[in-house]
Amino acid sequence: MSILNSITNSRIWRSFFRHGWPDNPLDRSLIMTTNVFFHLHPVKVNLKSIRAAYSLGLGILTVAAFISLALTGTMLMFNYVPSVERAFPDIVALQNSVPFGQLFRNLHRWGAHLMVLTCVLHMARVFYTGAYKPPREFNWVVGVVLLILTLGASFTGYLLPWDQLAYWAITVGTSIASYEPMMGALIKKILLGGPEVGQASLTRFYGLHIMVIPAILLLLISLHMWRVRKDGGLAANDLDAAPLEDGQK
């Protein structure tokens, strides 16, 4: 193993990874604190909080769906032009001529539905386990915003195939928004870029769908998971906690 050792002992390797092989408490702590991806997790977790029956894994499932959507979505972008003339034929070509095109489209579509579903169920799980209570109020509010953004991401993506299903779903959906008495008509006009669903709407929805909403989602998901750690891990930890000094009921 001397080659391996000389690699992991090299200055380059050591400058990338500032911890040893994580088979001992020190390195298992360091891997969490020195790695930007792992540092969203606490160094240690309560056994209760990783029981499947507690969290049902729904938050992680939502994250997994999000990552999968980002990947498959990028694949779709390589074969799609968001124009009224090209969008629909591009999707048809994607399905019929592009190798695995249909598969990627399916993955992206069903993944989107899955993410909405797991996100809603995750919210219900958090509510019914009482995990919104202090000190997790803020994370609950972040969660509600995440749910709205998830719906927004799915909704904006719905228009992109530019078929009858897409066109009328978005027409009906944006019409609902226009009933808001003060800003409704304006919001609808800005979203659609005109009085009805057309090229301007497709351009705008595309921009929102591939850039604006995913970027905000990525940021807020990171904030959300970091907050879980900052609030003392999952609420299941609290069951071990001593009675609270402020003696709430």
């Binding site: 027409t171 005109g194 009085p195 057309g198």
Partner: protein
């Protein structure tokens, strides 16, 4: 500037004043940026639907007739008194395209069954208000419809029509 150093009216210290000024400037910058962005995302209209559509010659439309203009997304109604009313084909309920059904002598929305009469007034269904209309102008015997400006209304009034 006063040389007295114990003016009773002087409440804000120099440090606070500068701090507040900076905050105000940053706030102003933010507001300007928001304003620019807001203007930037306003839709622009270029021809076709959303612009001014030439619907044809006045004399081409019989009194009491209803003509669909596909490009302009409207129905040009010529009332018995000879005046014109341009109705947006979009259902005021949830935006479906409403076809004129000759057999029923009314507009009948396929989505949730809203019914409208010739003037676009609601006769049944969930639609909350009459069909929106576009301003019509008549110049040199031709009918122009401004499809960029759909107007909402709560009931039909003669003022919404344009005399030929």
């Amino acid at each position: 500037m006063s040389t007295e150093n114990t003016t009773p009216t002087k409440k804000i210290s120099r440090r606070d004043f500068l701090g507040i000024s900076w905050a105000a400037l940053v706030g102003l910058l933010g507001a300007e940026t928001a304003g620019v962005l807001f203007r930037y995302i306003q839709p622009i209209n270029t021809g076709g639907f959303g612009g001014i559509v030439n619907a044809g010659k006045v004399d081409d439309f019989k009194r009491g007739s209803i003509t669909q203009n596909q490009a302009g997304r409207f129905y040009l109604v010529r009332l018995e008194d000879g005046s014109f009313l341009a109705l947006w084909q979009k259902c005021t309920h949830l935006g479906c395209s409403v076809p004129w059904v000759d057999a029923e002598n009314q507009f009948h929305c396929p989505c949730h069954g809203s019914l409208y009469n010739q003037m676009g007034e609601v006769q049944g269904g969930p639609a909350p208000r009459p069909l929106d209309f576009f301003p019509v102008t008549i110049k040199d015997g031709e009918v122009f419809v401004d499809t960029g400006n759909p107007t909402q209304r709560s009931k039909f009034e003669p003022g919404q029509t344009t005399k030929a």
